[in-house]
Symmetry: C2
Subunit: 277 residues, 2 copies
């Protein structure tokens, strides 16, 4: 039965009646209430929320208003709505802490440690559950030529990966580019995910005489376009973090350029450094 658990702190029919109090739209108030319920486990992880029409009855609003509230929560990464399936509470996965030490030499120098291929292993030992790789060879665009300091049109190896967590949710995509003259005929061009995972890639590059030495990372948070949203299997409106990484060998030659698209709600980026001169 429609238990009127929560009365929105607002008046009767005529829109929002608020005096000097800041006016807050109904759909925001409903989102706040639902968010609270998720946080206090009234709606547990994996649960399917009551359907929109039920929530509408409970809060005494129109279905559209509930829908707007749920879209807000969906953009926050808290729930996910699917046609004909309802709205499920997503598992409250702790933020994946992405630190500089994921590139640590010991992570990839000793193949026996069986840690290779885990580009985003954090303190808790998380590692990706699934990863699909797609390799191709392309002529360098003008931009890519600049990034890799090669000639425009020269071949580059493109290595595109989609990384999912244990539940099958896409957490991020990563596209790496290597100069073909470095990568050709090596494991970098294998579609196996094993040795040529990220750590493995570093090892391969080392074997080729291009040991990774320094890294530049740029982060920018934004909304995805339609294609990006589709490749990440998320809605537009949910923010992503674009990471661009350039890796140099000891002599300052760029050996890799990578573009990652990360579901913003899943990652925390961690950098430690000394105050520069």
């Amino acid at each position: 039965m429609p238990t009127a658990r929560c009365q929105l702190g607002i008046g009767s029919r005529p829109q929002l009646s608020l005096g000097e109090v800041r006016m807050v739209a109904k759909f925001v108030q409903i989102a706040d209430e639902l968010r609270a319920r998720v946080r206090e486990r009234q709606y547990a992880e994996g649960t399917v929320l009551p359907r929109q029409s039920e929530l509408a009855t409970e809060f005494d609003v129109n279905v559209n208003t509930v829908s707007a509230a749920l879209k807000l929560l969906e953009r926050e990464g808290l729930v996910q709505s699917r046609r004909s399936q309802g709205t499920v509470v997503l598992p409250q996965i702790p933020l994946r802490k992405v630190g500089m030490d994921r590139y640590s030499r010991r992570r990839w120098e000793r193949p026996t440690e069986a840690e290779d291929g885990a580009p985003y292993m954090d303190e808790r030992g998380w590692q990706p559950a699934a990863q699909s790789t797609e390799i191709s060879i392309e002529p360098a665009t003008e931009e890519m030529a600049g990034r890799l300091e090669i000639d425009e049109g020269e071949d580059v190896v493109r290595r595109a990966r989609v990384i999912r967590d244990a539940r099958g949710t896409v957490t991020h995509t990563l596209v790496s580019y290597y100069p073909h003259r470095i990568a050709k005929g090596t494991l970098l061009m294998s579609e196996e995910q094993g040795p040529a995972g990220h750590g493995g890639a570093f090892r391969v590059l080392t074997d080729l005489g291009h040991e990774p030495h320094s890294i530049n990372e740029r982060l920018h948070a934004r909304l995805p376009d339609g294609d990006e949203a589709q490749s990440l299997e998320m809605g537009i409106g949910e923010p992503i973090v674009e990471m661009r990484r350039r890796t140099y060998d000891g002599s300052g030659v760029p050996i890799e350029y990578a573009i990652g698209l990360h579901r913003a709600s899943r990652f925390q980026w961690n950098y430690t450094f000394n105050v520069p001169e």
Copy 2:
């Protein structure tokens, strides 16, 4: 006159008719079209777009559909809608490149260089136009005590700033916390923005025998809550980047903890480091 410039690539009345083609909602198509017009300067920066009802007529859709499209563009940071004022195209400001060298010692060690107080100066010499500061002394919460490695309840100096660009738009907020035993009676507690701007703070800390030595920064992109959106003068739904910074002196003692909230569409975060051992 309603010049039907752009026909949405969709059928007649019955919703979206799409066969094998990926179905794209009308409001997304309209957003795409409007975004393109902004990019090709058909709608220049600072321009007020045609009102929603006009756009609705042009695209032959309902006003609500146009409204949804504009909300999408607003979340992208491309336009801003205001009641009774219309929708203006925001200036296409290049991303502010926030690098580690904003903490460079030379930036704050020599007061004569007149660069002090510019926490986010980038290669192009950008600096904040306005900055309002609010100082208070508070007992440390449990979290803050942990961050600053002091006792819970011990006093901390809280220094909250709102930074705007030259046009008066809030770009970010920054709240710094210092142990009171370090900061008391110093310029850190002055509300003047001059010497106690960021660079200045570092100089003051150096004078106090706590020269900043290393820094840890954590970034996380997400949507703001209502209060945060208000303090940044932006809408909920537009992503922000939360930065948490801990600064240590040479002996590893935390001397500052700061929380920044940044309009995501304005910043690019830049880190360079060597591959760790």
